[in-house]
Amino acid sequence: MKNATPISRKRFLNWLLGTSFGATAAAALYPVLRFVIPPEVAEAPVNRVLAGRLSELAPNTGKVFRFGAKPGLVVRTATGEVRAFSASCTHLNCTVQYRPDFQHIWCACHNGHYDLQGKNIQGPPPRPLETYKVDIAGDDVYVTKGA
């Protein structure tokens, strides 16, 4: 910039300084701003999860939902009650399902059967399914795990 006048040189330098500092500040503040704004999922889905909508759960049907990385099963019995269990079969961890024809829970892998209390009633499963607490708020079905 030899032929540039000192004044414009100074202005350029100030501009460069301002812009680069502005860019640095933005690069630092943008992540901070995004960080502070709460994410979509406000909490890690470890203990409580929205399993589904009551209106979408007809009597004598079941639905598999996700508890973080693990499967869960929410069942609406023929009488309209809503129950929730871990969907990991206690035999070899296959995902169980609700069978409307049996009106209870069944595992496709080795033909294990569980009743509507989650108790293992037939086949290889050695233990009952873990039961979860169900809370219904309006149309929302919340499932809570653990004591």
């Binding site: 330098l13 100030n14 460069l16 680069s20 500092f21 860019a23 640095t24 070899l92 892998c109 050695p126």
Partner: protein
């Protein structure tokens, strides 16, 4: 002729015992029995005579009001020993071994009688026993076989649901083992006597004793308890299939079903053994050394080709799944969210379980269709892990760019300082 006469006498004496049982020999149900027998025998010095009295307290018969006279006859109210043990009052004393089943059956087979104690109590034990190997041998005069008291005990009998009872599921091996583990005794019957040791190596035993899974089979679950008989060759798959329904269904679809029946080969036992049933390993599929298909098939025949195809599928899914799992775990440890990938891995694991069931159909296409699900799941998990790795690289690039911005800011500042200080001079 002699034998049937003896049998007739035994039957008559048993019936007589039941008939001549003094009314007070069996008291009201649920009310602890009280008799002079126990009181007197308690005081005796000889262990053989004292022991039964000592066991009396926990014995279920006593708790239900059955006195010593209920089995041994005599008068449980008499204070005089001679009167109490009077044969005219039905005293039998120590029962002959061959008489025991009939004696127990005199109550336990009487449905109307047993109703006093429980509405659903089984009453077919004696009938079953008569069909069993033990019962048949006893009928022929062999007294070295098990009778009721051999397994249930004679005095201090506990219900089978009591964990201390010799016929509680976890204790059955011990109880049967008293005779069936005795090689010298077993050779006389053409048995090896190693069955128990074999069973103790099995997954069923491990499930029963270590995982406390009382539904796991022990001796009586496959052989029957009172009607104890080894399952016939044709019925082995029925026995195993009682629990292992899905594998049995696939087996029935396979050419093995008819082939084994024709060869009079026991179905499940041929590959999995009968007592030493260990955890099956996918590597057992094939005709090579130590592999089960090679028992009948040899390299080059149809069976070998099928085995190779199935084995190939299984190896492939294991490798792919293991690789995907490792990649996902690595990304997770680095701090990436891998929930979706883990769900896929769980699904893929389920596919592995189902593929293993399909092995029994010996149809490579069926195995393949389950294997495909595994490969798909593993593939998706792998893709998600790759995406996580890409995200890590992307972040690295982003930070690299911000390094550039910082460097620029540094340069600008240095120039500014220079300019400022030059000005001052």
């Amino acid at each position: 002729m002699r034998r049937s006469l003896v049998l007739a006498c035994l039957l008559v004496s048993a019936a007589a015992t039941a008939a001549s049982r003094a009314p007070q020999a069996v008291g009201a149900p649920g009310k602890r029995a009280v008799d002079t027998c126990t009181a007197c025998h308690h005081t005796l010095a000889e262990p053989r005579l004292k022991a039964p009295a000592a066991f009396a307290d926990a014995d279920i018969h006593r708790l239900q009001g059955v006195t010593c006279a209920g089995c041994h006859g005599g008068d449980p109210t008499a204070t005089d020993a001679k009167a109490a043990m009077d044969p005219k009052r039905g005293f039998v004393g120590k029962l002959a071994r061959s008489a025991i089943p009939e004696m127990c059956g005199s109550c336990h087979s009487d449905a109307a009688f047993m109703l006093r104690y429980s509405p659903n109590i089984p009453t077919d034990q004696l009938a079953q026993y008569r069909t069993s190997r033990h019962g048949l041998a006893l009928a022929k005069g062999d007294e070295n076989v098990a009778v009721c008291s051999s397994c249930h005990g004679a005095h201090g009998i506990l219900p089978p649901s009591d964990a201390r009872s010799p016929v509680y599921p976890t204790r059955i091996v011990e109880t049967c083992g008293a005779c069936h583990g005795n090689t010298a005794l077993m050779t006389r019957y053409g048995l090896k006597g190693t069955e128990l040791a074999d069973y103790e190596r099995s997954v069923h035993y491990a499930a029963l004793t270590r995982k406390n899974d009382l539904s796991a089979p022990t001796c009586n679950d496959c052989h029957g308890s009172h009607g104890a008989t080894p399952p016939g060759v044709s019925s082995v798959s029925n026995v195993c299939g009682t629990c292992h329904v899905t594998q049995r269904e696939r087996f029935d679809l396979s050419p093995h079903k008819d082939a084994f029946a024709a060869l009079e080969q026991p179905a499940c036992e041929s590959c999995h053994s009968n007592h030493a049933i260990t955890s099956p390993d996918d590597r057992l599929v094939g005709v090579g050394a130590g592999q089960v298909c090679g028992e009948c098939h040899s390299a080059g025949d149809t069976g070998a080709t099928v085995a190779a195809a199935i084995s190939g599928e299984l190896t492939q899914i294991h490798e792919r799944l293991a690789a995907a799992e490792a990649r996902v775990r690595k990304a997770e440890r680095a701090g990436m969210l891998m929930d979706d990938a883990q769900v896929k891995i769980e699904e893929a694991n389920q596919g592995v379980v189902l593929a293993r069931v399909e092995i029994h159909s010996v149809d490579p296409l069926r195995v393949q269709s389950e294997a495909k699900k595994v490969l798909d799941g593993a593939g998706v998990a792998d893709t998600l892990a790759a995406a996580a790795e890409a995200e890590i690289r992307f972040r690295r690039t982003g930070l690299f760019i911000s390094l550039g911005v910082i460097a620029l800011a540094m340069v600008a500042l240095i120039l500014k300082i220079r300019a400022m200080e030059k000005e001052k001079l």
